[in-house]
């Protein structure tokens, strides 16, 4: 499913990339416009469709909204920060 409703409100999401994902897209962040309401999964689809190099990011990556882990069905609001997180390897 792609959200393409042209008439509803839209939001701007700050998307952040880290580690291997940042290397893939050649940048550490992007502003992505999505029709609202939208989920993190919708933002991921937008990113993979629109950003050069982003096709190699998994369809279902780890994600965070506003510094907290979320599932891909979590909703996003205008101004949110969505981070796409490669497999965690700290410690």
């Amino acid at each position: 499913m792609r959200l393409t409703s042209p008439s509803g409100p839209s939001g701007t999401i700050r998307v952040r990339f880290f580690a291997r994902y940042a290397e893939l897209v050649g940048r550490s962040e992007a502003a992505v416009a999505v029709p609202l309401p939208a989920t993190v999964g919708d933002v991921v689809r937008r990113v993979r469709d629109q950003l050069p190099g982003a096709r190699d990011i998994p369809e279902r990556p780890l994600a965070a909204v506003n510094l907290r882990h979320v599932k891909l069905d979590a909703s996003v609001r205008d101004g949110d920060e969505v981070a796409l997180l490669p497999p965690i390897a700290g410690g």
Binding site: A64, R68, I88, A89, G90
Partner: protein, 146 residues
């Protein structure tokens, strides 16, 4: 205070943070960059992080320890940047009234760090290659019947 640093880690400062006359047991964990038989000539690891989120997650983990183990006190640091083989990337200290709590709290923190805290590592190998570490994909050996 930040849980992240680019300087070498020292346990002494962390021990001082948690010490208390009511704590009889203190358990510490140091994670160090390894070059063992499973690695392939790793000379260093470059650590990077989603720094703002790291602080949030670590703060939540520390709070969880206080809820699960009454009287336990935790201090920790994660180092970022290039860390050479043998040097520590993470240091955790947990003090508690009794030793079982100290061990459990310390173990909990490192397991949660590994699971939840957005830090990544890129192995820098002696042959010049660089490899992002993916714990979820390791080991990569396939079953014999595939």
């Amino acid at each position: 205070m930040s849980h992240l640093t680019r300087e070498p880690l020292a346990l002494d400062a962390l021990l001082a943070e948690v010490s208390s006359p009511e704590c009889g047991g203190t358990c510490a964990f140091l994670g160090t960059v390894r070059d063992g038989p499973e690695e392939h000539g790793v000379t260093a690891i470059e650590y990077s992080a989603y720094e703002e989120m790291v602080e949030g997650e670590l703060g939540r983990i520390v709070a969880e320890v206080g809820e699960r183990w009454s009287g336990a006190r935790v201090a920790l640091r994660h180092r970022l940047g290039v860390i050479r083989t043998g040097e520590a990337s993470v240091a955790i200290v947990a003090a508690a009234p009794h030793r079982a709590q100290a061990f459990e709290a310390c173990r909990y923190v490192i397991e949660e760090v590994k699971r939840r805290v957005p830090v990544w590592k890129k192995e820098l190998r002696a042959d010049g290659t660089e490899v992002w570490v993916d714990p979820s994909g390791r080991p990569t050996t396939r079953p014999a019947h595939v």
